[in-house]
Amino acid sequence: MDAITFYISGILSVIAAVVIVTRRNPVYSTIWLVGFFVTISIDFLILRAPFLAVIQVLVYAGAIMVLFLFVIMLLNLQPDELVETVTRRRKAGAALLSAAIFIMLCAAISQSPSVGGAAPLTAPLPAGHPLAEGSDTVAIGESMFQRHVLAFEVSSVLILIAIIGAIYLAKKRRPAAPLRSASPASVDGVRPEGALEPHPAAGHAERALAAEPVGARHP
């Protein structure tokens, strides 16, 4: 039963993936992306990872898909903007390259002794496995916050940086403020050659200029 479900959802996910990369209108691609994420979530359930299945639907089908739809609606692309100028030759080259990667991966999988000798995915869970005792969420939490806590902290810093970067990139730029008519030495903190040590008073003035926010002088 598990195997049949796995094969059906696998075929569906490949079909959905092909549809995603071939639609001209990105809205259709996004809708098919939801179906793709759901099939992957079914695969996770069959592989005995129910927590990941839920997270997959929540994060991908819930959050990332909505992000894509937001951007599509924000851009409001007209049909003539969706026309692509990819030549037939380049498409054939891309297909050839990805087929070559697929063949190489399949060869590697079929010839690997550790994959060939691995336990089947339908084998019963070992006695000490968290799912055999109920929920795997507790085990994932313990593993994440004890053994893999450094990776967890690094990924949280990454997300923080991504938030800051996304806000900075997507923000509307105001027209650039006119350059201050200060001495050239104070423009970007680099002193021109020959100006080794400025006069103490000048240094104070410079520091005062630097401490003053730009917007205060030129609103």
């Binding site: 094969y7 993936a17 995603i20 990872a49 927590f51 100028t85 990819v86 390259l97 336990a119 593993s143």
Partner: protein, 105 residues
């Protein structure tokens, strides 16, 4: 249903994603193809973890923690990628990778 079957499925999804990144010019669909790539890798990680449970009896959830972290990276990538797309669209009025060729020699 064996580990090899899951890995073949993962390889197929990955290659469709590679084709999408290479053959499309719409930046949105290129980003979606990147999501396909990440999902294919996640599937392979979970299948390996399910199959090699006996290899790490004291940490059976390790692969799933790795997948959660890949998920966080994917979310960060989607957020930054889409905001770059917005900035590009503001400047060039186009979301087509073929028209953004300022760096072309």
């Amino acid at each position: 249903m064996s580990l090899a079957g899951a890995l073949y499925l993962s390889a197929a999804i990955f290659c469709v994603g590679v084709y999408g990144v290479l053959s499309r010019q719409n930046l949105l669909i290129m980003l979606m193809s990147l999501e396909l790539l990440l999902n294919a890798v996640n599937l392979a990680i979970v299948a390996f973890g399910r199959s090699f449970l006996a290899a790490a009896p004291d940490d059976p959830s390790g692969p799933q923690v790795l997948v959660v972290i890949v998920l966080a990276v994917a979310a960060a990538e989607a957020a930054v990628g889409l905001s770059i797309l917005l900035a590009v669209y503001r400047k060039w009025r186009s979301a087509n990778a073929g028209e953004i060729d300022m760096l072309k020699g």
